[in-house]
């Protein structure tokens, strides 16, 4: 029980856990752990509430389908699992502005939300363009030794490392 109430585990314990989880998801559900397509589905489902016909004709949504599926439930489960872990270890906090952001750019929630919106836009657009994210390419694709995933994962980090340094060095 003490293990469950610890705030942090060793990154290696967590990584090994995720690795074993990937075996089980391949074995039981025949699917790799992946997340980003579910955000595109959600986007399509919301848009469909307003213009059903238009969305039903969009080739990308026809390709991925707009039903709640295994991966969509996986992403919902992540919210729940993280909440359980945070509550067990008393690590749950409502927070508008992360600490390292506040140290560099101040505590204005509006600025943080606007920048998060822009960053989220790049994430959503880039994940669809690359056909995967840090979990689908970075973990599941990389562990299958997929060429597309290694290229993507390396580019995620090249883009991320350069941008983080530019933002925190020149703006912060």
């Amino acid at each position: 029980m003490e293990l469950l109430t610890q705030v942090r585990w060793s990154p290696y314990a967590v990584g090994i856990g995720i690795g074993i989880l990937s075996w089980l998801s391949f074995l039981i559900s025949r699917k790799p752990l992946a997340c980003s397509t579910s955000f595109a589905k959600t986007s399509g489902m919301i848009e469909r509430l307003f213009s059903r016909k238009k969305v039903d004709l969009k080739p990308y949504y026809r390709k991925i389908g707009l039903a709640v599926d295994w991966q969509w439930m996986l992403v919902s489960g992540i919210i729940i699992g993280s909440l359980i872990s945070a509550l067990l270890s008393d690590d749950f906090r409502w927070q508008w502005v992360p600490l390292s952001w506040e140290a560099a750019f101040g505590g204005n929630p509006l600025l943080r939300v606007v920048v998060a919106l822009v960053g989220g836009g790049c994430i959503g657009f880039g994940a669809r363009w690359a056909d995967g994210c840090t979990s689908g390419h970075g973990i599941s694709g990389a562990l299958q030794l997929a060429v597309s995933s290694w290229i993507s994962a390396i580019c995620f980090f090249i883009g991320g490392i350069l941008t983080a340094h530019i933002v925190f060095t020149f703006i912060g």
Binding site: C35, S43, I46, R48, R93, G124, T134, Q144, C155
Partner: protein
């Protein structure tokens, strides 16, 4: 995951009953995944941005150990005939450009699609109000542009659903073992360097 772009079939938007158990498994795997991400600190902006600023190597350690353990297990199960791989098809235009745009967003947002779900569970309101909305808008924008991209830039330098063992035309383990060794070496070096 079947590509279904023909217009005569109706759009699938409801869940057939037989899929319910699959959905529950998805939820269970998600809960375990989210639990692990939170325990690792990967649901925190500070930890993710710390990785991109190269001051905190938690994210890389989690990813590399997951890939190491996952790869050995999945290839062992593949060798035994228990599982089939599902590598994603790729191209230079798709993975390099998409990867770099994603990377920019990764740094600006400070979460990725999996960890933002975890961050929301952890109480991060910038993730819920700003980041999530941004990801939905960005995905929708891509869906709108997709017809104009799919035969052009997304196919530039296409190499299909290639894996490294097939690229080099060798037995899987000729790649798996050296990659495992390299990951272990990199992790050992990170620890020795005190990172």
């Amino acid at each position: 995951m079947q590509a279904n772009e023909s217009l005569d079939k109706p759009m699938r938007t409801t869940v057939p009953k037989k899929d319910i158990s699959s959905l529950l498994w998805g939820l269970a795997f998600g809960i375990a995944f989210g639990f692990l991400l939170q325990k690792g600190g990967a649901t925190k902006y500070d930890v993710i941005v710390g990785q991109l600023l190269l001051t905190d190597f938690t994210v890389l350690k989690i990813m590399l150990s997951a890939v190491l353990v996952g790869m050995i297990g999945i290839y062992a199960m593949k060798t035994l005939g228990w599982v089939k791989l599902a590598p994603k098809p790729g191209s230079a235009g798709k993975n390099v450009i998409g990867g770099l745009v994603f990377g920019v967003g990764f740094a600006v947002l400070g979460y990725c699609p999996g960890t933002i779900a975890g961050a929301i569970g952890n109480g991060a309101l910038d993730a819920l109000v700003g980041g999530l909305a941004g990801i939905l808008v960005g995905s929708g924008l891509f869906a709108a542009l997709y017809p104009r991209l799919k035969q052009g830039i997304l196919m530039k330098g296409s190499f299909g659903d290639l894996t490294f063992p097939r690229l080099f035309e060798v037995n899987d383990w000729v790649i798996v073992i050296p990659v495992a060794a390299l990951i272990l070496l990199l992790l050992y070096w990170l620890e020795r360097a005190g990172l």
